[in-house]
Assembly symmetry: D2
Homo-oligomer: 447 residues x 4
């Protein structure tokens, strides 16, 4: 591929960072959500943990007894723990937990941390000679939520994951920009960059229970059952509502700009059933449901996705009238529901009001602000106008290094830069807040 | 799965069949089609061969120089040749031909036969010490087109495949019930049992050429871009047109009858591009396009499918402006087009006319007819009415063993049995023809 | 790898060969062997077929009821049929036959041919709706036995494989250069080029039966349990007996000549047990035994091997006292026995006698001889001496194109060329025979 | 398999352990070793960390620039991080570190911890938009070193792994019971239970550098190049020296006791070269070397092993005269050397001296000692004799629960139990030490 022939760069062996960016981060555990999926399935517990400073997070699925698991890796850059073991087809339930997290490969620490917590807390003692080995098995995957999404590389670590695990409870799953889906986006290929999140759905058919969960962080757009793109910051001349088939048609037939799309994405998913399935059936369930997700996410499974789906059978229901293929159909529909439920309310662009910028604001706000490493923004006053420039090596959203971009007043007293994406700046308590709200980025003025 | 615990049955070691059903079959090579895809790509040649007595057939894709190939097996029962070799990631073009065939596992003979033809004809001499080994590499897959589809198990064999290979020509690909897609169906899960076939699509974007081909023999239904089921013999109270989402909703929410659906299906596909791709990119292209097919085929990749997709790069175009991910988007749209193009015109049910059956017809038609092994139909007269019974161990479409089913006159002088599916009988030259037309089954009266 | 950057060559589209080299070949079915393994296992039948003109052949293993199978592909160039299906882990016995053949990828025709024979003979009727589908499943692999091994590219084809299948009988397995192992060699990496063949071993432990079979065509040498190279045409200063560890030590520590070793090799193997094993256990058995073969073959599993091993359980014995891991140990020892049993008696070099070449022989033998396509040898008289030159584009063993090599009399009235390998020429009935004996190459004088 | 049908047990949800056994453990970083491999390869740094209280440990291999990696998973229970990603064949160097650890699945925390350290220390900033993504990629595997090996389930955790990573230095690799190999054993299948460790070997051939590393924790025995079992606590009548072939012969031909062998083992290995290799070549190197290890470890790759091998190319040397297959041969020989170098000196059994136990010792030592959770030993005096009983639910080596075993004096003033394995008890500073020395287990008397 394009980047294949790049020479491996030497790592710049900088001195050890003076401050570990993970130190002393504020945690939010089981943060309340505007929407929550409820389900009646005591064996399954869910906990979420977040670092609002990212924002990023982790979602822990814990089963109160050993369950069976299969995995289907399809994307171009999957992050996994113990995947080859899951492929071996042993007919023995062994899984305790599945952990989804942000933080790219760093977030895999959340997966191993849950196994450690099970051990440290004395719930799994490591006895491999028991009939079923009493060793905690925790598997999991991560999404890439760095890059254009936020101005730091904070990741869900051991501390956060263990806290989420210990707070896990049954019956509820928060929807939207929560847990592992805290800074997810969708539609990057087309420049949509819509906020995304985690979704879930649950249904019972006779005695058969099925739950689906997903963290949608897809290169493709989310497509509803009527063929509409569910969330997208469209380009200026794009129709609304936007039909997925029209978007694709336009994309395919148009010029193919090597645009600066988000080259790292991942959608990580879980389907759980209580119906007993043997290893081959469980694997087929994973394949069937994962494939079906190509309907709701278009495109899906690309070289820039890292899609992984886990299928779990709790083996609680030994027999049912539902053939495995139909269980797969039902689970696929629920997975579509789960994907749709992941989408949070999108912030709106704010128009410039035409008002002049108050001189106090101009004076107070000017200065340099440090977000994550390499992410600095410098705001300066030129006459009665304000300009911002990325003063580190990395862009700050629409602010590029070495280029002045003018800021304008909005109707509610904040500053904005008009463009395809919402971009609002506010000053509160000496702190610069970019895009106040769920995905806000906060920095203190540098001395 | 359900059948997993079945005890292996002993093979009934019958005496060698007196007549080899493959002997002396009439061949049709490059049979004319109502619709044909044309393309401008000299390196790629296509040949089709058919045994009308099946009907079943083979489609050979031949490349006039060695090309690169990747494979993605997703279904629950794939038939393949040399698949592990294709997974090894060697960066050397080696493929000559891809062969699709009916005949379930027996049809794999068509794949090996094309390699043999290349050898026997002196085109590949087996010299493995050449810089690029001059050994023919032919890979391929098969569809299951036995069972309810036809009343015999004739398969595309060496003779047919080699004839099709030798007749392969560039620029054209017949659409519909042709070649390997001769007896394909779709929608078996829901009882649709619509006739299907092979489809293709081709486009050029700048210098980039992309062709997609598929033999659609899917458990799921074919879904168009407006969400409609494209072909289905619906149940009596099903709406027309039928929305795929409504069908799935009804299916999921309804009772789950362990209905007698077609448990063997396969959709086998090929995407070809001239853009140079390295092994990892080619594999990702296969994955992306294969996944995208879950939009047009719902469900897809189930335990009862044997889906396989091949991705080929002819390596003719070293550079282009099209990023691999976008090439995948374009190819996915073309694959959807290809799937839609596979659907042939569906025969209609014929109403009973209410007329009495002429006594001459009653007299002439009564007797026993032998189709394939185990498939026998006995027609008998009771008063002025006609009845038919499957007199072998296997059902003959709606005619079950040991059960009399009444035949009625149609308006055009034939006989029919009312029901969900077209079922017409005609007597011509002492031969009983069931469903005269492209998929007709013919049997001579037994003495 | 080295050849990775080679440009794909254009196929020289020659006119169709005037004579198909496969036409009218003499077959040998179940040819008698000097050594034969016997076993008491009625369910398992073995048949061999050979084309002496190659020589090359096929070995068919047939099971009289459906059995379970797993596969382990390890080599750098495996040839397989239906391998992905075998990886799916379904718990249903489905296999009928395993077919090993020479002929490189062309020999895969032997595998599909056995399925066809089962169908054509009415033993498997293609009924996929039976509890266990009554469709023949034949899998198999091939060895590369072209190149330096023989002077033609004849391959085991449908006709030969079906004849071998139909002649299969239980209780016996011919050892040495028989069936698929007809032109196998070993030790090519080191220039050993020792003749090899097919081997087998059988034992019963309590009620547990284990049989192992292998066609040894390895880049590495065969190593016995005392650490000796079992067969090798050593270089002039090599010690005898030759210790494997010394050979490897010498190889590793010496210069690394990019010598003209045999770049295509394959060892294909089969382990069968009557003990019931589930899919995961069967796969582990395949892995354990295949790995163990690295003791008897050194090196093993290289980029120039195409190693494949099949593990079969006939599921006849539901319970035993033998843990699967121990079954693996026992099978591994039997596989080592099988490898050792594959080695045929090696032809000896024949010294030159110092006698003059009789003038009649000089006169009679001179002329040009055509072996397989591209393989021609021209013998010419210069004074009282005889010289031979490869007059096609390919070398004829030690005779290179465009280079005269002198022939000398042996004690028994034949001609020879001294060197590392035996090279004897004889003239019988106008035919030139190179290396009279099991691996002889025969050509008629060209007019 | 045998354990396949076991019902999943309910996890005994005990209250959270009062004391986290990982808290406040003493670390040893880069502990001095009796034997050390030295090498000249600046890009490669190695660090080890140990918790003597286990003992258990971690070995970190760090590369000072991004390198290429392939993985080969063969055993029946592999533990891995990011394995599917490594299988994708991308031609871009991305790896930073490989981490081997004890602690079974819990030890995978060591792998994710090294990625976190790279991030937290500012060496990898998470920038995925760089030409080569600047995200730390750390992969790794673990061995099972619980059960029978030691009396606790302490595992190498984040703290230990990060300390080892930060202390990593080039040029040295400690051999024997060090780092990840701290509590490894070999030969469990046959009851050998010999102490094992980590091994390494290094050589340079022209400009080509090769290093091999392995943590040998194998179900099989270690076999040297002369066919001898290198380390084994043999059964009473076993010959010394013990030939591997005789051991296997005896094992296969004897009765097959379902003995209480160590059902969890793993050998994890790494081969590194500076020669540039493409993804397919690197994968073949992994396969070839991994397969070759079946010579030194017999059996190998069983259902009770979790063998994983990583192959790394630092891509430093673009060209060499060494063909990849020969590089594989050389690396395989070095891997055998590495395996042999892993074996530490084995503690000897100590004979009973026949002396009476001093009354002070009898008095002082009696009481109950707590090792890890569930591991308690009670020593009691009966007249002038001493007896020990496992008073928790788990055995303490030869001491079984509820069964008194008599202790005897050794010549050096300690206590012992005669038997197949060394078992020595000493009392020092109120602490009971079992098997004083590198693998000692220490417990304080319970009040």
């Amino acid at each position: 591929m394009r980047f294949a022939h790049a020479m491996p760069i030497l790592m710049v062996a900088t001195a050890q960072a003076e401050v570990n960016p993970q130190a002393d981060l504020t945690m939010k555990i089981n943060a309340p959500a505007e929407r929550t999926l409820t389900f009646d399935w005591p064996i399954l517990r869910v906990g979420t943990g977040e670092y609002p400073a990212g924002p990023t997070g982790v979602t822990v699925f814990h089963f109160d007894k050993k369950v069976s698991v299969a995995v289907d890796s399809r994307g171009g850059g999957p992050g996994t723990v113990n995947a080859p073991y899951m492929e071996l087809g042993y007919d023995m339930a062994e899984l305790d937990s599945i952990v989804f997290a942000g933080g790219s490969w760093y977030g895999l620490e959340a997966t191993t941390a849950v196994a450690s917590a099970l051990k440290d807390d004395g719930l799994r003692d490591g006895d491999a000679f028991a009939e079923v080995p009493n060793i905690a098995m925790s598997v999991g995957s991560i999404i890439f939520d760095f890059g254009g999404r936020r101005l730091n590389e904070i990741y869900p670590d051991k501390r956060l994951a263990q806290a989420a695990f210990r707070a896990a409870k049954t019956g509820q799953f928060p929807l939207g920009a929560q847990g592992a889906g805290r800074s997810a986006i969708s539609g990057g290929l087309f420049g949509c960059h819509a906020h995304s999140g985690q979704g879930g759905a649950y249904a019972q058919y006779g005695d058969v229970k099925i739950a689906t969960f997903t963290v949608v962080n897809a290169l493709g757009v989310i497509n509803d059952r009527d063929g509409n793109v569910v969330a997208c910051y469209g380009d200026k001349d794009w129709p609304e509502p936007l039909k997925t088939k029209d978007l694709l048609h336009k994309w395919v037939s148009g010029a193919w700009p090597e645009n600066d799309f988000a080259k790292k994405n991942t959608t990580i998913s879980l389907v759980v059933t209580n119906q007993a399935l043997d290893p081959a059936e469980l694997k087929r369930l994973a394949v069937q449901v994962h494939t079906s997700m190509g309907r709701a996410l278009q495109p899906f499974g690309t070289i820039y996705d890292g899609d992984v789906l886990y299928a779990v059978s709790t083996q609680e229901l030994e027999k049912s009238d539902m053939a495995p293929v139909n269980l797969g159909v039902a689970a696929s529909e629920l997975m579509w529901d789960a994907i749709l439920s992941a989408v949070p309310e999108q912030p709106q662009r704010q128009a410039k009001s035409g008002q002049a910028i108050p001189s106090k604001l101009r004076k107070d706000i000017q200065g340099e602000y440090q977000f994550g490493p390499g992410h600095r923004l410098k705001i300066s006053q030129k006459g009665e106008r304000l300009f911002a420039t990325a003063s580190g090596e990395k862009s700050i959203y629409a602010f590029d290094p070495g280029k002045d971009t003018e800021l304008f007043m909005t109707a509610n007293g904040r500053l904005t830069v008009p463009g395809r994406y919402p971009l609002v700046l506010a000053l509160e308590n000496q702190q610069l807040i970019i895009n106040p709200g769920p995905w806000q980025q906060v920095a203190t003025k540098q001395p």
